[in-house]
Assembly symmetry: C2
Homo-oligomer: 333 residues x 2
């Protein structure tokens, strides 16, 4: 079974975005637009949004299941206030649930969280619990920087986040560390902010005792771990300099990387330096809505070399399952 | 001739740090400590600080010349005000000049700039000119985030920076894009802030017309280009998505990467994806004071494989010279 750990619903029916725009305009005008204002989205609209996109690509490439969450760049926790974020999050998560209900064999849900700058992370625990217990989701996307590029929250290793981690452990679900759009002009979202956040989170984990406090807490660092595998020598050295445990003995029990690196030399490096048990297959780079990806460059091809490369990988499903997989990888060589 | 493009004076005599501490204490107490308060540093102290460190390693490894600048993590432009930064910068640069005067065959100077948060970059032009014209320096370290991890300045591509670039072009010197320490608890300095800044700067350059405005402006992105080479497929795709020129046709005429990647797989990836003309040899990882480096892990060894790897590289000296080089690389395999 081939599982893609990193899918976002980038092709959601237009009604969702209409609601979001109304909501943002409302917030600016001092009006709290309720979720009931979300335009009706029919099952057919949902089917149409997927059949010629994610589902077509799933079939063409022979992947079986996509772990599917709302569009990451649209989470935009920095817009509005906590109520804005909560309503938007519920709307997005509910739509993922409808996708999963229509295609239970193809998708499984991961939720967005109703984070907001300056708001305690534990305030996201109820939505996480709703998504896991009522909607059957298996994880969440956790934004280490709800301010959208101003990095005003404490590090992920601060006790600020612990009550939310307690809920994650209680529910036995992992988080993918995933920022959203940037409102800091220094940081292009997918070209800088995403990758920086991945690198930043890893280094926060490296310098802390978080996983001594939460041995069962699990994080996926997406986009191939940001800069980390490329600078693995640096991190190995830093761990030694800082008298931290060896990376393999500590961090890698709780931290996993996806394979969303959009060229073969990067994938090869990832597989060379990161233990196979810590690599989770992600196909994001060739799915709709991915910026700067193989899909967009129009240079996709079946690649026997890449197949061979990935053939012996196991897929560590965030829900805890481990399944062997082999697949025909479509990658930009 | 083998030139190391990325050396910092991490072993400066203690008097320099004493001055800095006095200066910071003074600032807190409302006193502007003048540079005349810098304890006298003798030539012998300077020799002692280098003979068993950088010079010993130069000789052991067969490098000829180190492009040498003040300790990057100590620039700390966020401390104090513009005057604080100016005095500290002048003291640091003067000391580099003394090093270069004592060892003109071994070192050549690159300056720190007296940047300060909220202060126009052009205010650094005079110090740059002094260092180049009077002290014989060949470049500068430019901090894209003088706030130390809060990223409050406009992007490097904003006209905010243009007057300083005019001076760089006039003097025909490049800048290494180099942040300093971080006062944002999210960002470990060498484990996150440095690498993030490298990635961020590259993406800023990618999305702008800066090099159309300044065809002769040159930047070195250190630490192997941050995350960029590992995610080269992403950047190539982003350039295409954003209707930007091909990276090789535009950015790579003005942007160079050093080789400060501290393990062999990372170096191999760098050499595989970045054109050789855009790679500048840097040895930082095995020099004193480097955090998380081969030097610190105590696993240095001569590596014939790495020698072979680097053997055909040319060294693009920031001053504009191009010299072929081959050297015995000491690297963490």
């Amino acid at each position: 079974m081939i599982i893609d750990c990193h899918g976002h619903y980038t092709t959601a029916p237009a009604g969702l975005q209409t609601f979001r725009e109304d909501q943002i305009a409302g917030f600016k005008g001092g009006i709290d637009v309720p979720l009931s204002a979300l335009p009706k989205i029919s099952d057919d609209q949902i089917r149409d949004s997927l059949e010629n996109a994610q589902l077509k690509l799933q079939r063409a490439r022979g992947t079986d299941l996509t772990i599917f969450s709302p569009r990451a760049s649209a989470m935009a926790h920095h817009i509005g206030n906590e109520t804005t974020s909560r309503r938007w999050t519920e709307g997005c998560n509910d739509l993922i649930h409808r996708v999963v209900s229509l295609y239970p064999d193809n998708f499984i849900g991961v939720c967005q969280l109703p984070q907001s700058p300056g708001v305690a992370p534990v305030n996201s625990a109820a939505e996480l619990e709703r998504c896991v217990k009522e909607l059957g989701f298996i994880g969440c996307n956790l934004n280490p920087d709800p301010s959208g590029g101003h990095w005003t929250s404490p590090p992920l290793t601060d006790r600020h986040w612990y009550p939310l981690y307690e809920k994650m452990v209680e529910l036995d679900v992992p988080a993918m560390v995933h920022v959203s759009s940037s409102c800091n002009p220094n940081f292009h979202a997918t070209g800088a902010h995403y990758i920086n956040a991945d690198t930043t989170a890893f280094m926060q984990f490296l310098t802390s005792d978080l996983f001594a406090d939460f041995p069962r807490l699990r994080f996926i660092i997406p986009h191939g771990g940001g800069a980390v595998p490329y600078h693995w020598g640096r991190y190995r050295g830093l761990a030694q300099d800082l008298k931290r445990p060896r990376l393999a003995d500590y961090l890698l029990k709780n931290v996993f990387f996806d394979t969303c690196v959009y060229h073969l030399p990067g994938i090869e490096l990832l597989l060379k330096v990161i233990p196979v048990d810590n690599i989770i297959f992600g196909f994001r780079g060739s799915m709709p809505g991915s910026r700067g990806s193989a899909h967009r460059t129009g240079r996709l091809r079946n690649d026997a070399e890449a197949f061979e490369l990935f053939g012996n990988l196991r897929c560590n499903l965030p829900g805890g399952l481990e399944v062997g997989f082999a697949f025909l990888l479509v990658i930009l060589a």
